[in-house]
Symmetry: C2
Subunit: 425 residues, 2 copies
Amino acid sequence: MSQINQEQYLQQLGNNAKQASYALANLTASQKAGLLEAIADALTENAAAILAANAKDVAAAKADGLTDAMIDRLLLDDARLAGIIGDISDVIRLADPVGEEFGSKLLYNGLRLTRRRVPLGVIGVIYEARPNVTVDIAVLALKTGNAVILRGGKETLASNKLISDVIRGAIVAQGLPIDAVQFIDSSDRSLVTGLLKLDQYVDMIVPRGGQALQRLCAEQATIPVILGGIGICHLYVDKNADLERALEVIANAKVQRPTVCNALDTLLVDERVASTFVPQIAEYLHRLGVRFSVCEQSFALLDGLGFDVTLAKAEDFGIEWLSLTLGIKVVGDIDAAVGHIRQYSSGHSEAILTDDIHAAAHFMNQVNSAAVYVNASTRFTDGGQFGLGAEVAVSTQKLHARGPMGLEALTTYKWLAWGDYTSRV
Amino acid sequence: MSQINQEQYLQQLGNNAKQASYALANLTASQKAGLLEAIADALTENAAAILAANAKDVAAAKADGLTDAMIDRLLLDDARLAGIIGDISDVIRLADPVGEEFGSKLLYNGLRLTRRRVPLGVIGVIYEARPNVTVDIAVLALKTGNAVILRGGKETLASNKLISDVIRGAIVAQGLPIDAVQFIDSSDRSLVTGLLKLDQYVDMIVPRGGQALQRLCAEQATIPVILGGIGICHLYVDKNADLERALEVIANAKVQRPTVCNALDTLLVDERVASTFVPQIAEYLHRLGVRFSVCEQSFALLDGLGFDVTLAKAEDFGIEWLSLTLGIKVVGDIDAAVGHIRQYSSGHSEAILTDDIHAAAHFMNQVNSAAVYVNASTRFTDGGQFGLGAEVAVSTQKLHARGPMGLEALTTYKWLAWGDYTSRV
């Protein structure tokens, strides 16, 4: 696309979405449920075609030499597609946050003031690989009366294109504007940069992807961005932790699903228990396939015992491992643990294991990440686990929404005031 | 400052603020009240010196040929300073939002989950002229346990520098870190751009100033920005409005304080009442000194009657007048009014005057600005009027806070979860 064509394309895309958002904003909960049911039906009817498109993506990915893990992420089969469609029913059953009024009051001058929860308007979502995100995000956006512009990764272009076409067909069949859902059908990367600057039309950008995508959005966007999904997560073993029960919780945080953002990256161990506990946990995790990147003190405790252990450089504690590598660092006390977390954390999830109520309270007060745990695995930071019913993203910034974002994070409010030809004195 | 020095200066500034924010985050409401009282006392004790510094700013402003209106904005005298200090007592009396827990629940696995309201951390505020903002923002930030970096306009450098020094002195005297409040003591504009990229330390940027500053922040910041304070406000006179009672409300919206963001910019008049009402309101407002920039239909009604009236170009309806000029446009019906508002509004405040309940409801549902009024002046969009007790800014974006921002907008929440060595299944 030439630069002028691209500019026109983006303006049109933005304006289409904005116009569609007006039609969506005042749909009732049952109208929106009807729409989502129609989408689920249409996806079911077109399952064979969707799987065929996905097979093309898979074949191209293999030809491009993508790893098996990456191919697995983009692969759809009957069961996975049925699961994705089944999830729509769960979203239909969630309460609709739109229309709620709150904070209502009668002002001194007789004005009746309330805040009404309304859709954000237009949401832009930029994501990678998994085709399920196309369905998830479209459904969550429509459930909350928002128009959405989707930009998926080039590895799943055929799958995403067909899925979004099927969704758009269902939208039109319900008498709603087709551009309620738009999919950027191009792998041209400069379109992403252009999308980030469509502040005239787009109200929020959600990047779902790695560090490079997050930074691109933070630096280029003139639209508010929800950064998130990067988790450099810590677990601190206090001197008063139950060291036997600690083993399983730490293993859960590290190995239950090591490739996700709420998995454990760095284990901090109080030096008063380090000499016994560091070899103990290393032994426990080693059997589960874990490698270690550790501080000098830990290295001295672990070297030569047959573990896969390397001495960490300071900056290694800033790595989100997303794998079976675990950082281990011995710290002098709880405040040193808090200090380490403040320096290296991405503000996602941190945990303390302790039987000391004072240590637990101190950790909760001093650590200011999106989720702070006492005696629990970091793996719970998730919309489903937190009972939100759905998850748009996990925010690691402090504005608007923090941690797992549910439906409410796709809404805002407007102030409504009723007067009787009321003037300000 | 050289570029390297500036980079070091900004890093130091950011880090100082972040460190100070840790000490502020867990202060109790009464500790914060004590701090604010100490600040009020210190400002009172140093009143003569503050007024002397302000006199320097005023003399420099006169020498630079600033307008009387601009000089009046930066001028302090005994009464104004006493007023600013008196406002601190009002903030002390407001409820402290920090520490509130909400949305608490017991999850299926025994985890006790709650959300606790906490300070944002570090807030950067960039503002122009008025020295009262230095006190207001410092006090609101400290009340909510936040550290703040202030960057005022060069016209009030001497006043702001002394005021912030007095505040910092009071902070230290309370045993708290001096860098809880920092003031950028330089009119070097590139420092602003640098501040906007300190995302490692600063959690939110609030620009309080005109369109150019807002755009600079939207385009340059890598930190979440609260845009706001630009009000292209509309009032629609429906065909079923009480035209006699309408006159005073419109006059209030336009002339009570024409230089502020919630003042009326464009009057939309239903064409079924235009031929009687447009000349009537023009006559009413003309006596109050109002000039008119109007559509062709209005021009035909008003030309030659002795009013100060010009024919508006389409883009003139996108002007925030901040003066006694009023745009007038005749529209076909309520949906044409809504369409005009969607095209030209900055999302700040809009009003309808009508006795028709259907028109009122339709307008409230269809217009999606921060504040929407039925039968009231747009001039109410204000933290004080809305009963928030204080106002950080008026947000015209949809994320985090919308419309008048009170203390709660300076906070976020963290998720806290208590388990019993709980692992995810």
